[in-house]
């Protein structure tokens, strides 16, 4: 990562903080405050973030990085590690990196992440993903990713048909449970993985904030 990137990221970070604060009112406030704090904290250390993600699973000396850099090959994998290790989630991981949410997904949580597989991103109109990955679209990208995250660990059997659940961007998603099949805003949950800090539910469509 070059120094120019570092400067730009720093500026973006402070901007994100303000935007998020304006959305917090009354909605799972403590969680989002904590996430905001983490985002602010990560401003100080993102310069080697990409390298850190790759180092997360490798042995070595202690690092000064964020949660994503903790060396631990004994504990259950966290949500970040599950996503990074899945070939089906390379687009999502790219988006998480661009949104600066790498460290957050490795914190204590708990989180429920609806994780669109690569094919889900492919269903979006051509150029959508590339557009969102542009630095100037970072806030939009974060908003979309936050729409996929619940603060709380929902295993599949906790979902109830028709239940609307608040998500991290302040909006809500609606759960459907019919004939044993679970949907979120109409997207199918096609698999579920327990992580150390919550649950990852694989979905076949990208959820768009309503």
């Amino acid at each position: 990562m070059n120094p120019e990137n570092n400067i730009r990221y720093s500026r973006d970070c402070s901007g994100v903080d303000i935007q998020q604060k304006s959305r917090f009112n009354g909605l799972i406030f403590p969680v989002l405050t904590m996430m905001a704090i983490l985002v602010i904290a990560s401003c100080n250390q993102h310069q080697n973030q990409e390298a850190n993600v790759e180092q997360a699973a490798t042995a070595g000396a202690p690092l000064d990085g964020g949660s994503a850099t903790i060396q631990d090959d004994v504990s259950m994998r966290n949500i970040l590690q599950i996503a990074v290790s899945s070939a089906d989630h390379s687009t999502l991981v790219t988006a998480v990196k661009a949104a600066d949410y790498v460290d957050v997904l490795a914190t204590a949580g708990p989180f429920t992440v609806f994780a669109p597989v690569n094919a889900a991103f492919d269903k979006l109109p051509a150029g959508t993903v590339e557009g969102l990955l542009k630095p100037e679209k970072k806030a939009d990208l974060q908003n979309i990713l936050e729409y996929h995250v619940i603060a709380g660990a929902y295993k599949p059997e906790y979902f109830r048909d028709g239940k609307a659940i608040g998500v991290a961007n302040g909006g809500r998603v609606t759960i459907g449970v019919k004939d044993g099949k679970i949907t979120v805003n109409g997207a199918n949950i096609i698999g579920s993985v327990q992580g150390s800090n919550g649950w990852v539910h694989l979905i076949d469509q990208v959820l768009l904030p309503q």
């Binding site: 969680v31 904590m34 504990s75 204590a108 949580g109 603060a151 709380g152 150390s196 800090n197």
Partner: protein
């Protein structure tokens, strides 16, 4: 700020305190070199600075003294990482409160909630720390504990019978074949109702060898040697050439039993008791030992069941010195000796005569020659007394007042602590000359060089373990902290780097390179290896069972809820056991468990661990419980209710989660 402290400097600190105060004052006014002080110059701060996120170079295990615990610190930073509960109940994590850990504090005298821990000793292979275990003695109700250096938990505590105060302990032999125990206060053996004035005929001093299983670390009292009723005070095992021996100091050769402050200081010389533990082993194996009936407890943690168990032992093997020639010798030692320490080669044995004006250093080689040449000066109860001149290698003359303990570096120097003159004195092995001295703040007891009792010391630092701090820190009322001081010993002159406060009294400490332990540290307890009889491995198994007036709640916890979290059917008069399993499999995610009004305690439960809280509800109503360790963003939501009904109610047992 500091000129005031010139006025307040205690008299006995004298010139050092004043110079320090001046030095600090100068430092404050000089921005260009604010770390430069009289204490040595140079950038002292950078020598102890460990950057955020970086690790220290050494672990320091310091006794908590009267706290009964062990503090784990980093060096050079002096940061406290953990208090390992050992001999005292610990409110921080439920040690000695949970049903699983209560047995660890059982003794032949019943449950003892508060002990007095003294000497942490790292297990050794070939005379060097091997990173497996840390042993520590309890002085008051004589015991030895074994701490597992993977989990930093106390795994075993064994009681020492026939002892009146286990101070000269646990000090392991070169390959941790044995630990030792003794008695600072000789007592009747077996203990019985006799006049205290019958001390000389009825009292004895038992010296114990405690066998350590090389694989499991399990301890057993192998044999007790019944010695004359002196006060056996300190110990150090031989190594290298002297590996078959272990050395105890003893005072009160006068055999006084009152006002020892004066009456036990009459003789010019007391003794070092040299014990040939190999010989003792031979006599034991040859069947020379007698069985002595006495009850004592052996408590150990069953790792698989995550639960401690107590075994009641009913006899111990004893040896009488008069039946065992060649096993014990007394070496005269000036005036009420305290510490006894062996240099890295095992050839020299330095003693600290705490009322003496010199440090006597004995030669192992001369001792062996004196034994074979029978250079005796009489005997005491069948134990030959060797002639002082025949065994002494040299005396460090006029080193200071009140020598206590010596540790060694890797360059041929000894470092001795002096309580009365509050200093560390460096002297050269062989020439016995004092080469340097440095004040301590204040009243040093033990001192520690990482590996300083081993064959290969890491001669980088000496740590002064101080009893008194007075004006060294922000005052906190009558009770102020005790402290450790980190001193650089790499140069010709010792250099004070850092003061740091400690828990309780840092009575003694041992240190080892961090790399010896970091790779082995346990991160979680694996759920599949949890064989606790009341463990539940998933939420579906969570349940409540009534057996008469006993109610067993099988509960799980994971971010961020309990299962079940609504429980009904508990009645006043019930004895409720909450068996709580932390389902997390993630490093550093313990959960707490606290019930309103529980008279026992709370719990802190590690990932994959099961712990049990006993609770006896006293009145009808609804009682909340919650997680008391901030675990996650929804920590506050991690809560539940237990409905308590009248004794005669017929509310059935029921439980649920999320319905």
């Amino acid at each position: 700020m500091k000129p005031i402290s010139i006025i307040k400097v205690p008299f006995n600190v004298g010139i050092f305190g004043i110079l320090f105060a001046l030095g600090a004052f100068t430092g404050c006014n000089n921005n260009g070199s604010k770390h430069e002080t009289i204490l040595g110059g140079g950038d002292v701060a950078s020598e102890v600075y460990v950057a955020p996120g970086k690790y220290d170079d050494f672990y320091l295990f310091a006794s908590g003294g009267f706290s009964g615990q062990v503090g784990v610190y980093g060096l050079p930073s002096g940061r406290l990482f953990r208090v390992i509960p050992v001999f005292s109940q610990n409110a921080e994590n439920g040690w000695g409160y949970s049903e699983e850990t209560k047995p660890m504090l059982q003794t032949s005298h019943g449950f003892i909630p508060w002990g007095d821990s003294h000497h942490p000793v790292l297990s050794k292979t070939d005379g060097n720390a091997n990173g497996k275990w840390l042993f520590i003695n309890e002085n008051n109700t004589p015991r030895i504990a074994r701490i597992n250096l993977k989990t930093f938990n106390t795994d075993e505590i064994i009681e020492i019978p026939n002892s009146g105060g286990n101070h000269p302990s646990p000090y392991c032999t070169e390959n941790t074949e044995y630990l030792v125990a003794g008695t600072r206060f000789s007592v009747p053996i077996e203990n019985k109702d006799v006049p205290i004035s019958s001390y000389k005929e009825n009292f004895k001093g038992a010296i114990s060898l405690v066998k350590v299983d090389p694989e499991s670390g399990k301890m057993s009292v192998a044999v007790q040697i019944i010695c004359p009723p002196f006060d056996y005070d300190k110990n150090r095992a031989g190594k290298g050439v002297s590996r078959d021996w272990t050395f105890f100091t003893c005072y009160n050769s006068e055999q006084a039993n009152t006002m020892l402050e004066a009456t036990a200081s009459q003789n010019d010389k007391d003794f070092i008791l040299a014990v040939n533990w190999k010989k003792a082993e031979e006599y034991l194996n040859a069947g020379k030992a007698k069985d002595f009936k006495v009850n004592y407890y052996h408590n150990y943690m069953d790792e698989s069941k995550q639960t401690a168990f107590s075994e009641i032992m009913t006899s111990v093997k004893t040896l009488e010195p008069k039946d065992c020639p060649g096993m014990l010798y007394y070496m005269p030692c000036p005036k009420s000796p305290h510490g006894v320490d062996v240099n890295p080669t095992g050839e020299y044995i330095a003693a600290g005569g705490k009322l003496a004006a010199l440090i006597p250093v004995y030669s192992y080689d001369k001792m062996i020659k004196a034994i074979s040449g029978q250079q005796f000066d009489g005997e005491i109860e069948g134990i030959p007394v060797l002639k002082y001149d025949a065994v002494i290698a040299g005396e460090v003359q006029k080193p200071g007042l009140g020598p206590l303990h010596t540790e060694f570096d890797d360059k041929g120097y000894g470092y001795t602590s002096f309580f009365l003159t509050s200093e560390i004195v460096k002297w050269k092995i062989g020439t016995w000359e004092v080469v340097d001295r440095i004040p301590t703040y204040y009243s040093i007891g033990h001192l520690c060089i990482p590996g300083g009792d081993s064959k290969n010391p890491y001669g980088k630092y000496v740590i002064a373990l101080n009893k008194i701090t007075k004006d060294r820190y922000l005052p906190t009322g009558p009770e102020v902290c005790q402290s450790a001081q980190l001193i650089d010993i790499t140069g010709e002159k010792m250099k004070l780097l850092l003061d740091f406060p400690t828990i309780g009294e840092p009575h003694y400490a041992q240190a080892c390179p961090a790399s010896l332990l970091t790779g082995n540290a346990t991160k979680i307890y694996k759920l599949e290896e949890n064989n606790h009889p009341y463990a539940v491995k998933n939420e579906k198994e969570g349940r409540v069972e009534r057996k008469g007036n006993e109610v067993h709640i099988y509960m799980t916890m994971i971010r961020s809820h309990f299962a079940p979290d609504n429980i009904e059917g508990v009645k006043v008069g019930d004895v409720v056991y909450c068996h709580v399993t932390n389902l997390e499999q993630d490093w550093d995610v313990p959960h707490g468990f606290a019930i309103k009004g529980a008279n026992n305690a709370e719990l802190l439960i590690m990932p994959g661990e099961t712990r049990t809280l006993k609770w006896e509800p006293k009145e009808a109503g609804v009682v909340p419980f919650y997680c008391s360790d901030f675990c996650s963003a929804l920590h506050q939501e991690m809560q539940g209710y237990i409905r308590v009904s009248d004794k005669n109610s017929n509310v059935p047992v029921s439980f649920r989660l999320g319905e």
